[in-house]
């Protein structure tokens, strides 16, 4: 296990090197020295095109500020989620903490590990006004802002393979009933109806998020988020789970989905290779499908739409869920110089004109106001306008459940979702299990 070995080495090196380090007296806790005294560290995610854009932003900043450099390190998504928690707990956090806001950020705030940026945003109103107001929700804990919204808005949308649809005479689904009919149609033709990277678990969760929203309305999960007793058995929950179970029973998801990981992008490969007809996924996959899928995206074979409504459901079909942004926080354990460097980085480099352009070029919508012109001029204008439309017109933009909840509740949720998709628990058991985790 990488983490423990790392800690082990740190410990071993720590004992011997403590005096040597003390003699140097250069770096604060958990920072690798290098560059000037104000040099800061920054951990972020791998995976193109995002990784390259993050790196370019760091490089631009370092070029402009040779005295206060930022050292960036990239980690894989699922590994990073654990790594960053461990590092923060051990006082080894990087200066700039890349995150998803919400429940995870709340746990850092409660432990006093991240800087309060409310005043900084007050002094730099221009920065705040430039960003989507909706993106500040997950950055705000108890009325204070602890993170800078960054990168792109990423709602979950329904992708489909136009070529596969045309060949089989299928139409994009307009309702839940259509979805179930398409499942029968595609299964009959030997094509998987939906691609799904089920081993990552949060991928399965996206299905539940939409069905809960469309059937029970956004207030259903809001109740869970607020920790209301028995919120999981509120009206609509059981219906949503029953519908989802029907989809699983009807082999709606690709064979072997529970051993496919999203980190490997194998779920996307199934869609662009025509082995699966549809895929419910974050808009960030557009960029990677354009990257990896050959001419699939370029030739206009990728279709997209918002998740359709469910007849008789309470949720508004314009609603969406996903990531309202990414969130950059500053470690409160960093030195004063490092914090200054980080703030300078936020101010000058993050979402700079160059970075915004790079995100748009990659097929994503940055969390910056007034980019319509840039989006319209892009080669991916059609998709970007669609995403911009969803993000700006959604009646409710729900944050991904596992990011909104505390880590403890999120893990219990993901665990039960995996079991639900594996059919080892049914709707009633799921509701009972989840009600037991409320308030944790």
């Amino acid at each position: 296990m990488e983490l423990s070995r790392r800690n082990f080495l740190n410990l071993a090196a720590g004992a011997g090197a403590a005096s040597a380090l003390a003699a140097c007296g250069s770096s604060g806790p958990g920072t690798s020295s290098g560059g000037g005294s104000g040099s800061a560290t920054y951990w972020y995610l791998t995976g193109q095109p995002g990784e390259g854009i993050r790196k370019n932003t760091v490089d631009r900043f370092n070029k402009a500020n040779p005295d206060s450099k930022i050292t960036g390190t990239a980690y894989q998504n699922d590994a990073y989620k654990t790594k960053i928690k461990t590092a923060i707990g051990a006082g080894q956090a990087p200066t700039v903490i890349w995150g998803w806001g919400g429940g995870g950020l709340k746990s850092y705030v409660e432990a006093g590990q991240v800087e309060d940026l409310t005043d900084w945003f007050g002094q730099n109103a221009a920065i705040k006004d430039r960003l989507f107001p909706s993106s500040f929700g997950p950055a705000t804990i108890n009325g204070k802002i602890y993170a800078m919204p960054a990168e792109t808005v990423a709602p979950i949308v329904l992708f489909y393979n136009k070529e596969v649809f045309e060949k089989n005479g299928a139409q994009p689904p307009q309702s839940w009933g259509d979805i179930m009919n398409l499942v029968t149609l595609f299964n009959g033709k030997g094509i998987a109806p939906f691609s799904l990277g089920g081993q990552s678990r949060w991928t399965n969760m996206m299905w539940m998020e939409f069905l809960f929203d469309r059937i029970g309305g956004p207030e259903l999960f809001q109740g869970v988020f607020e920790g209301k007793p028995n919120a999981w058995s509120a009206p609509g929950a059981k219906e949503a789970l029953t519908e989802l179970r029907k989809l699983i029973d009807a082999n709606g998801f690709v064979k072997g989905f529970s051993s496919i990981t999203a980190d490997s992008n194998a779920d996307q490969a199934l869609l662009y290779r025509g082995k699966a007809a549809m895929m419910l996924h974050g808009t960030w996959t557009y960029g990677s499908m354009a990257n990896d899928g050959g001419k699939f995206v370029k030739d206009g074979k990728l279709g997209w739409m918002n998740f359709p409504g469910v007849d008789g459901g309470k949720g508004d079909p314009t609603n969406t869920v996903g990531n309202p942004g990414q969130y950059y926080s500053i470690s409160s354990k960093a030195t004063a110089e490092q914090k200054e460097t980080a703030k300078k980085f936020f101010k000058d480099a993050v979402l700079s004109t160059e970075e915004v352009k790079e995100w748009v070029d990659s097929g994503a919508v940055p969390v910056v106001n007034g980019t319509e012109a840039t989006l319209g001029a892009s080669k991916d204008a059609e998709f970007l306008n669609f995403v911009y439309g969803i993000a700006s017109k959604a009646k409710t933009f729900g944050q991904s459940w596992d990011q909104a909840l505390s880590p403890t509740a999120a893990e219990a949720l993901l665990d039960n979702i995996a079991k639900f998709f594996q059919k080892s628990i049914g709707p009633d058991q799921f509701i009972a299990n989840m009600n037991g985790t409320i308030g944790k």
């Binding site: 296990m1 928690k85 081993q199 690709v254 072997g256 505390s406 893990e411 665990d415 594996q422």
Partner: protein, 306 residues
């Protein structure tokens, strides 16, 4: 006598003997320090943590028996124990006979056998994580070996179906560790005195008879050593299962070590995770002691009549 002995001798004796035993004790110090720092101290820390509440980030708060209560009343614990023991038992059953046979085969001194020994050793050089990634790719239901070569038998949902997933874990574990245990058996077989086989041949015993009456009984302690390594080692399988299935599908391959990781590092429940760690240590100690018992007191002769 001592009173009569000349003074220089009296001075000499205690220092020299004291020096000698002191020298021996001193040699144990580095190992002891390592064991204290990396074995005992963390163990005590984990024990202390199991009576506390900690999310891995904030403050550590004492919580009495809360963590123990929550873990012991959780149906996830018996399940994780069951999975652990299932993988342990199956991989022992699969590995022992194969390692034994390969070990006996490789004990011969023919040139080709020595070459094969080198080849067999290769899997041990690979890291578990790399192995897991490789097998995961090979067994992928859509892009793996089965669909790639169009072999229907291989085209199963290997890691997505509970029973198959356990089987795959056992297979990959065995694939990795059989070479190691074969090596142990090879050494064991080579230590058996040739005279025993010669005597058996004179008595007219065939190969099978020789194997069951000489090789197998002579390997008793080797089998116990290898089994102890297998059984206790299987308690700590983590990397391989984590990469291969992440405990899934559902919780079908969530062994104790994985359960501990998920509680501690994913759910931020360090208290309950420490409880599992303590349970792991106790189970490991129990198994190691039990296996030693199986070996008897170790004072009976293995070479009677040889």
């Amino acid at each position: 006598m001592t009173t009569v002995a000349p003074p220089p001798l009296r001075v000499d004796r205690p220092t020299s003997s004291g020096g000698r035993s002191g020298g021996v004790a001193w040699m144990a110090v580095p190992a002891l320090i390592m064991f204290l720092i990396f074995g005992v101290v963390p163990l005590v820390g984990v024990l202390a943590l199991s009576f506390a509440q900690w999310d891995g980030i904030g403050e550590i708060k004492p919580a009495g028996l809360d963590a123990w209560q929550s873990v012991l009343s959780d149906p996830g614990l018996p399940h994780a124990l069951w999975v652990t023991f299932l993988i342990m038992a199956l991989s022992w059953l699969f590995q022992t006979p194969l390692s034994l046979l390969i070990g006996v085969f490789l004990a011969g001194h023919e040139r080709y056998r020595e070459w094969l020994a080198v080849l067999y050793f290769i899997p041990l050089l690979l890291s578990s994580a790399a192995l897991a990634i490789t097998f995961k790719a090979l067994l992928d239901p859509n892009f793996g070996l089965g669909s790639g070569l169009g072999i229907e038998f291989l085209n199963q949902d290997w890691l997505g179906e509970s029973k198959l997933a356990v089987g795959v874990v056992v297979f990959v574990v065995s694939w990795q560790f059989i070479p190691f245990h074969s090596l142990i058996y090879q050494g064991g077989v080579r230590q058996i005195p040739r005279a025993m086989y010669e005597a058996a041949q004179i008595d007219g015993a065939g190969r099978m008879r020789q194997f069951f009456s000489i090789t197998l009984p002579q390997l008793k302690y080797t089998i116990i050593t290898s089994s102890t390594l297998m059984v206790v080692g299987s308690l700590t399988f983590f990397d391989l299962i984590f990469v291969l299935t992440a405990g899934g599908p559902g919780d079908a391959t969530r062994a104790l070590a994985l359960d501990m990781y998920q509680r501690g590092f994913m759910a931020g429940l360090m208290g309950p995770a420490s409880v599992i760690a303590v349970i792991l240590v106790l189970v490991g100690l129990g198994l190691a002691l039990g296996l030693r018992r199986l070996g008897g007191r170790g004072d009976e002769s293995q070479l009677e009549g040889a």
